[in-house]
């Protein structure tokens, strides 16, 4: 039986950072990922990573305050303080590992402006910061000789006596299921964007870790908080970085007006994402749109700056729309981008299930609360990836070995065989996924209503029913992506249900959650997290108070 002290699930930035830290503390660590680590969705983070460096005249309290304000006072301030205090050191450490951050004219690290923040504190590599960081983090994995199970797909967690003791996973290239025993497991599986159609997220972002932890008894929190990014490309929903606006781009409506004047007179285009997305959607709904979009205008930045700092988004807008950003504005609209909620953890990544940790987008500490600031997600992966790696290593050292029966694998094997044995009924995982995606995008988006959420809940119930008998065409074992889609769809449907029930519960508007019937923030009744737990009777809700340290809620305007 394969066995490790610490097993990290997911090869993105949170997972790799966790693995490196665990390895450094001398325990035996491995990473398992359903794609090669450098294919992970951390790649897609474009704009940068936030940190307040004191030698730049910045301070972490300002960063923390703006993160708290950005979260619409739903973020836990103890966790946000850790995030912002440790950020500076993390940037220096990344630089030492080899990330080729952009410099200023003195050769020191340079910064750019980002949304929801008064100071320019976003460190960056052109507009592919995530990719540049992920490549370097993977270099460090090669250097440290950490074992990576590439293209292994998680089917379940091994839970015995309420503790996590490893996983069952499918080796895709052979199609065999195996147990990998571990004293501690760190979930770092990223987001769940594919619940929505369209989304900026990659096809692999299917909420696997969130659903598996939920099934294993770990509660999820803040699931109703789904971020719509203000600038996603017309047609295919590909992301256009906030750095475009950070560098000075304008948002225009069909009349050519910089409409953000009306919604955020001080911060304009650099208000926080929930605010900008709602503003755009309002313009679109009130018919000041251009073909269902608003326009992002970069022309005044000049070709040189675009080429030097925003080359990737110029590449994608040329590729997909034939638009040269130096010549013409590009049509954009709000698109599903990020899940603020996730597996509830403490500041060391621990869930309530002993032996199970989580970090990155699949986790919720909660540092993002109701709305994540741009360039805080990369920071989240690095800070809480490191902390969970350290904590899991310590836990694994004190943990005595537990016997796991080889036969545990047969549960999952039987499930696979049952799916493959289903007869054709005209349905496919793709059809169900698309209906789910459209439903979520119609009803659980920028503007929500109780009625719409109710429709979504009913619709999801029907899709879950259909899911029980959905057949797959591919009956082989080697690299059977067909069966993986079916399994992923099961994860996504579970996640979708938790989003909708949490959103129905929150009877106010806060951060990314805007309910037409309750347009105001209601601190008296709703300054609390909604937690959702899997029980035999379905999702069960509970409340968790928000931790406040030094910032009392105030009116939020930009």
């Amino acid at each position: 039986m394969l066995e490790h002290d610490v097993l990290v699930i997911g090869g993105g930035l949170a997972g790799l950072r966790a693995a490196l830290e665990a390895q450094k503390s001398g325990v035996d660590v491995a990473v398992i990922s359903k794609v090669h680590p450098v294919r992970s969705h951390s790649n897609a983070a474009q704009g940068g990573i936030n940190a307040a460096l004191t030698d730049r005249g910045d301070n972490w309290e300002d960063h923390a305050y703006e993160t708290v304000k950005g979260s619409d006072y739903l973020g836990d301030q103890d966790a946000i303080e850790i995030l912002c205090q440790e950020a500076g050191q993390a940037i220096i450490e990344l630089e030492h590992m080899g990330v080729i951050f952009s410099r200023d004219e003195t050769g020191h690290l340079g910064t750019r402006a980002f949304g929801g923040q008064q100071k320019a504190r976003t460190f960056f590599v052109a507009d592919f910061t995530g990719q540049a960081m992920l490549q370097v983090m993977y270099e460090q994995m090669i250097k440290a000789r950490v074992r990576v199970y590439e293209e292994w797909f998680l089917t379940s967690l091994v839970i015995e006596d309420g503790e996590c003791h490893g996983v069952v996973a499918l080796e895709m290239i052979t199609g065999t299921l195996q147990i990998i025993k571990a004293k501690a497991v760190i979930m770092a599986t990223g987001g769940l964007g594919r619940l929505y159609e369209p989304t900026t997220n990659a096809l692999i972002c299917t909420g696997d870790g969130i659903a598996l932890a939920y099934r294993a008894g770990a509660p999820l929190i803040d699931m109703e908080m789904v971020q719509y990014h203000p600038t996603t490309l017309k047609n295919n929903g590909v992301l256009i970085t906030e750095a475009a606006r950070g560098e000075g781009a304008y948002l225009l409506n069909s009349k050519g007006e910089r409409f953000m004047e009306k919604y955020a007179p001080n911060m304009m285009e650099l208000a926080s994402r929930d605010v900008v997305s709602r503003a755009e959607q309002t313009e679109i709904n009130e018919r000041r749109d251009v073909d269902g979009c608003v326009l992002l205008d970069l022309r005044h930045l000049g070709r040189e700056k675009i080429h030097e700092r925003l080359s990737y988004i110029n590449e994608v807008s040329m590729d997909f729309l034939g638009i040269d950003l130096a010549e013409a504005p590009v049509p954009v609209r709000p698109g599903m981008h990020y899940q603020m909620g996730g597996i509830k953890t403490d500041v060391n990544g621990a869930t309530i299930v002993p032996g199970l940790y989580a970090a990155g987008e699949c986790a919720c500490v909660s540092v993002h609360g109701g709305n994540r600031l741009g360039a805080n997600s990369l920071l989240d992966t690095i800070i809480f990836g490191r902390r969970s790696g350290e904590a899991a290593a310590i836990y694994s050292r004190e943990k005595v070995d537990k016997q796991i029966l080889e036969s545990r694998v047969s549960q999952d094997e039987n499930h696979l065989k049952e799916i493959m044995a289903r007869g054709d009924n005209g349905d496919t995982p793709a059809k169900i996924r698309r209906e789910m995606g459209v439903t979520m995008n119609d009803y659980a988006a920028v503007f929500r209503t109780t009625e719409g959420m109710g429709i979504a809940r009913e619709k999801l119930r029907g899709l879950k029913e259909r899911y029980q008998s959905v057949p797959v065409q591919d009956k082989g074992r080697v690299f059977n992506t067909n069966i993986l889609f079916a399994l992923e769809l099961g994860f996504m449907l579970d996640c979708a249900e938790t989003i909708v029930v949490s959103a129905l519960e929150r009877k106010e508007s806060r951060g990314a959650h805007y309910m037409a019937e309750y347009p105001q923030r209601d601190d008296e009744n709703w300054m609390k997290h909604i937690s959702v737990k899997n029980t035999p009777g379905g999702p069960t809700l509970d409340y968790i108070p928000v931790t406040i340290t030094q910032w009392q809620p105030q009116v939020r305007s930009y």
């Binding site: 294919r39 992970s40 030492h96 080729i100 050769g107 020191h108 490549q135 295919n236 590449e315 992506t481």
Partner: protein, 317 residues
Amino acid sequence: MEVTLNVKRFDPESKEQGSHFQEYNLEVEDHSTVLDALVKVREEVDGTLALRCSCRASICGSCSMRVNGHAKLVCKTKLRDVIQHDHKVLVEPMNNMPVVKDLVADMKPFWDKVRAIQPWLQPDGAAPEREYIAPNATMLHLTGVMSCIMCGACVSDCTALEVDKNFLGPAALAKAYRFLGDPRDDAGNNRLKMYGESGGIWDCTRCMECVQVCPKGVAPMERIMSLRDQAIQAGFNNNNGARHTESFSELVKHSGRLDELRLPIKTFGMFNFPALIGLLPVGLRALRRGKMPPIIHKSIPGAEKVRRIFEKVEGKK
């Protein structure tokens, strides 16, 4: 738009040996990519088709495969740019790698070679308390290679790798270049020595395929040429590759054109009989086809002008 994807299929579990082609007729949007079409097949027509893909935006590097015979990132490839007169598009897995199933290539050899170049920053001594100071222009220059997404397109279409499995290949060597160009890395000489060994920078045949197929403009071959330059500058010129390059330019400088008979002698050394005897079959074939260079090599008219060009260029360096 109507399209027929002609897809090379391979099922390792099938009783039938080898691969076969399968056609899929589809109706797609005018702006669709090859990936859009393949995903449509997988979701609506044939769930057994295996391929890798993830980000749909040319950043994850998953979906490299050959389209009409050349490696492409299919999420970045518009159907209308590759469709033939008969509406057909040929789709095959990457070359120079074993096939796992259908369009899925086994990239293990690719990653083994990336690992072989010691792909991590190797500074000398302890790190400074704050960041390393580095000129922005240098870092900007490195973003050109750092934008490599390890998709494997260049390796798929590398003509040197086709005949020389030992060759590190364009992707690994482009990554190698990134460390040589990084002012924080202090292992330069070790690296140049290592990359100059058999299978390294001198094995590239300069066919330009990697430059053409790279979807991110990394231009691996140009990086390899720069590494050669750096290796010679650093004095790592005691090998066939470096001697070949130096002799080539020396001979052209001398007579205005290449003395093809003296080139191997200067490259391998006058008394390196095994290597020279190894060239005999080539020589005999050339002789048979009337392509043997003249025994007595003559300078071209105006050879001294060529020499002056060389001197001018060398003066500029």
